[in-house]
């Protein structure tokens, strides 16, 4: 009897031990994969470093060996890319940074001066091997930086995130956004022929991560619907023969975007909360990458941002519209916002390269940008001078070259009109920090008014979101855009501007734009250098959106090109450098893209499919009457 009891006890102990072993194994599966992959990547890079140390840098066969080993390390990187890009983006730049130096002002540090961030790691090392004179130490330094940066990911502060499901869905969101924007374009891949094979490795590694996650987090697991679609997307890539024929359109429309939608619904379902600035701008409720609510860059309501009531919004909108068309804002009472941002011309000025100076004789140095979609930039103006739309509006009104109105005088003139005064007074209750009407009220009404013209979709969006048919030529054009023409390495979906996932900063590029179409000299505009002087920022300009490009000519910062054909020719021949102009920090490749005439036609068809169906409004019939009678012959919209 005693033995019998003893047997039961032993049986129980063994059982309990066994099950707890299984369950702890299950709990650990996800974390184990993470640790294992990180360690393997570290070991792989150590090997690479040893190989470099032993190699003769001047021997072609040794260099080829190093190249192969770097490619191997890059593949290994794909086993951890899913996590590390999200968990510590700064360290990631040292492992796989696309540029040696980047100047950044991300949205959560917008009040601070731009940070200089140095890149290192595998992409830069691979590119370095193609240079004429290679110094071993430089190569070693690029890899060493990467090894040091990899250490960050085994620290507790990072691995603690892996204990819950929250980070997983946010990592996955970033992964899917990158799948739609950079993984298929060669953004960080020096060899076009390696793009598809590396993508496939990445997709399969992520699949293993998914499976382990589901084992370790059975209550917050990825749905079967998601996993099935993911499998289909892998088979889709397997069917693609080479990079030039890759059908990006179908890949995004049928696979990436629907996966994104499911992941977003899982984020809500599993009540995922973020502890990272990476998610600062992204909207949990957005259901498509090609939706205008995907990310938020600007507060268009300005000081009225707390107002939700549509009736009140409507009132602000009405007064904003009057102000937009009212030349009372300018010193000579002749120029309004609408003078240069002509609502009949997509809120830009199609009539000349650059707008007329306030003196009505000379010309301003830069082309008037369209106001449509301007709110999807973190930094405003081509040199990124302003961090908010309201600051930009304030400066244009004060600027002696543009509207020349001193703040106090302008405010006095506006408030001399009963309609403005009464409305702004009634609205004061929505801005409890302000006791009287200030400049911020005026500019906030203006930005609130014009931003609504950004809420429209283009045929391309409708094709992706609603499955509406898209012109075949536009589809081919999009694939060229993402592939051979390399446009998408700077113009990122969905805005096709310089804001790339996770959509927290605006990028600047140096293109070498000429001062005129003879290409005799560079434009002398210093661009970003004026705001943030550095070697890299000389003649750099913020990458603009390609939406509505069909209607927003002329093009480039100085409006030098009047047709899209000229623009494509500029890029096709390698920008300023490719045209023989002397610019040492050009970020655009100076090689020819070797685009055929047919390919250019398709590209233009794609660009035209980004023309949004904007519902424009007619100008107001009359402007508010002022107590000051001399002000009452103002023209609606002013003059030019």
């Amino acid at each position: 009897m005693k033995k019998y009891h003893f047997g039961i006890i032993i049986f129980l102990i063994v059982n309990v031990g066994f099950y707890s072993f299984i369950s702890s194994n299950a709990e650990q599966a996800y974390l184990s994969r993470y640790t294992k992959n990180i360690n393997e990547f570290g070991a792989n890079q150590d090997d690479l470093l040893k190989l470099i140390a032993q190699s003769n840098i001047h021997s072609k066969s040794d260099l080829d060996n190093i190249k192969t080993q770097i490619l191997g390390s890059r593949k290994k990187l794909k086993s951890i890319d899913f996590w590390i890009r999200y968990l510590e983006p700064l360290a990631y730049k040292k492992i796989n940074g696309p540029l040696h130096v980047e100047w950044e002002t991300e949205v959560y540090e917008k009040f601070e001066k731009p940070y200089k961030r140095e890149g290192a790691g595998l992409t830069l090392a691979a590119l370095y091997l193609d240079e004429n004179e290679i110094i071993k130490d430089t190569l070693v330094r690029l890899i060493r930086s990467s090894i040091t940066a990899s250490q960050v990911y085994i620290q507790d502060s990072i691995t603690n995130h892996l204990a819950t499901h929250h980070h997983f869905y946010l990592c996955n969101r970033l992964f899917l956004l990158n799948l739609a924007t950079i993984y298929t374009t060669g953004f960080e891949n020096p060899e076009p022929e390696a793009i598809i094979p590396e993508l496939l490795v990445l997709m399969k590694e992520v699949k293993s991560i998914y499976l382990d996650f589901n084992v370790s987090f059975p209550n917050e697991s990825l749905s079967d619907q998601y996993l099935n679609l993911y499998d289909l997307s892998i088979s889709y890539i397997e069917k693609q023969s080479n990079f030039d024929d890759f059908d990006h359109f179908t890949f995004i429309k049928d696979y990436v975007n629907p996966l994104f939608a499911i992941n977003q619904s899982l984020i809500l379902q599993h009540k995922v909360s973020s502890r990272s600035n990476v998610d600062y701008s992204l909207n949990k409720k957005s259901t498509s990458i090609f939706s205008k609510n995907l990310y938020r860059a600007q507060n268009a309501k300005g000081i009225y941002y707390r107002v939700e009531d549509p009736k009140v919004i409507n009132e602000i909108d009405k007064i904003g519209k009057l102000l937009f068309y009212d030349p009372i804002l300018s010193a000579n009472n002749q120029r309004s916002c609408a003078s240069c941002h002509n609502p009949k011309q997509y809120f830009t000025d199609n009539t000349g390269a650059t707008a007329l100076h306030f003196d009505k004789v000379s010309k301003l140095p830069r082309n008037t940008p369209s106001l449509i979609n301007v709110g999807f930039n973190h930094l405003i103006m081509l040199d990124g001078k302003h961090i908010s739309l309201q600051n930009q509006a304030k400066e244009v009104i004060i600027n002696p070259d543009e509207m020349g109105s001193p703040e106090k005088e302008m405010l006095k003139k506006v408030l001399s009109c009963f309609e403005y005064k009464k409305t702004f007074e009634q609205l004061l209750k929505y801005t409890p920090t302000e006791k009287e009407i200030v400049y911020d009220h005026i500019v906030s009404a203006i930005t609130l008014y014009y931003i609504k013209f950004s809420n429209f979709n283009a045929p391309f969006d409708e094709a992706i979101n609603e499955g509406k048919p898209l012109d075949e030529s536009a589809k081919i054009g999009f694939n060229i855009f993402m592939g051979k023409a390399q446009c998408a390495t700077c113009h990122f979906a969905p805005q096709f501007n310089g804001v790339k996932p996770p959509y927290v900063g605006s990028e600047f590029e140096v293109l070498g734009v000429p001062s005129d179409t003879t290409y005799n000299q560079l434009s002398n505009d210093k661009g970003r250098y004026k705001v943030n002087p550095a070697k890299e920022t000389m003649k750099a300009f913020r990458t603009g959106t390609l939406r509505n490009i069909e209607h927003t000519q002329p093009y480039m910062h100085n409006g030098v090109f009047t047709t899209l054909d000229q623009v494509l020719a500029f890029y096709d021949n390698g920008g300023g450098l490719g045209h023989g102009l002397d610019i040492e920090n050009q970020t655009l490749s100076s090689d020819s893209l070797k685009l055929t005439e047919t390919e250019k036609k398709h590209l233009i068809s794609f660009l035209k499919s980004l023309s949004e169906k904007v519902a424009f409004e007619v100008a107001p019939g009359k402007l508010p009457i002022s107590k000051n009678k001399t002000l009452n012959n103002r023209k609606v919209g002013g003059e030019y």
Binding site: Y108, F111, N277, R296, N299, S388, P432, T433
Partner: protein, 129 residues
């Protein structure tokens, strides 16, 4: 009847006076008068915003008096604040409090006179434990 109305009004007054959080500021002595004035104006704006958006969760009561917590400099870390506190992630996105207004609230909480009653719960106190 009149007496009851009077009593109601009077007690109402007493309650509001008691419940009101008194705010004064401690600016650094070396700060020039004009800078102090500018910071005072900013802090007052921040106070209004704090009362609207933060006081509901953060203020605490001792007996009948309501207090604004003494936040530590670490807790007043601007944009990091949105992710330090999980409640904030959904509670105060940019749509609800802009970075500009957040700055005003930080200024207010930084210069508000400390009462030293008890520290605000959170990062620092956790670390101390």
């Amino acid at each position: 009847m009149r007496i009851t109305i009077c009593i109601i009004i009077l007690s109402g007054l007493i309650i509001t006076v008691c419940a009101q959080t008194k705010v004064s500021y401690d600016f650094p002595k070396a700060m020039s008068e004009s800078t102090k004035k500018a910071f005072f104006e900013q802090s007052e704006k921040g106070r209004i915003l704090y009362e609207m958006s933060c006081a509901g969760c953060h203020n605490f009561k001792v007996k009948r008096n309501e207090y604004i917590p003494d936040f530590t400099p670490n807790q007043l870390s601007g944009y990091v604040l949105r992710v330090l506190n999980t409640e904030h992630e959904m509670g105060i996105p940019e749509e609800k409090i802009t970075s500009e207004d957040m700055g005003l609230i930080m200024t207010f909480l930084t210069y508000k006179t400390k009462h030293g009653l008890r520290p605000e719960k959170g990062q620092d106190s956790k670390k101390a434990n």
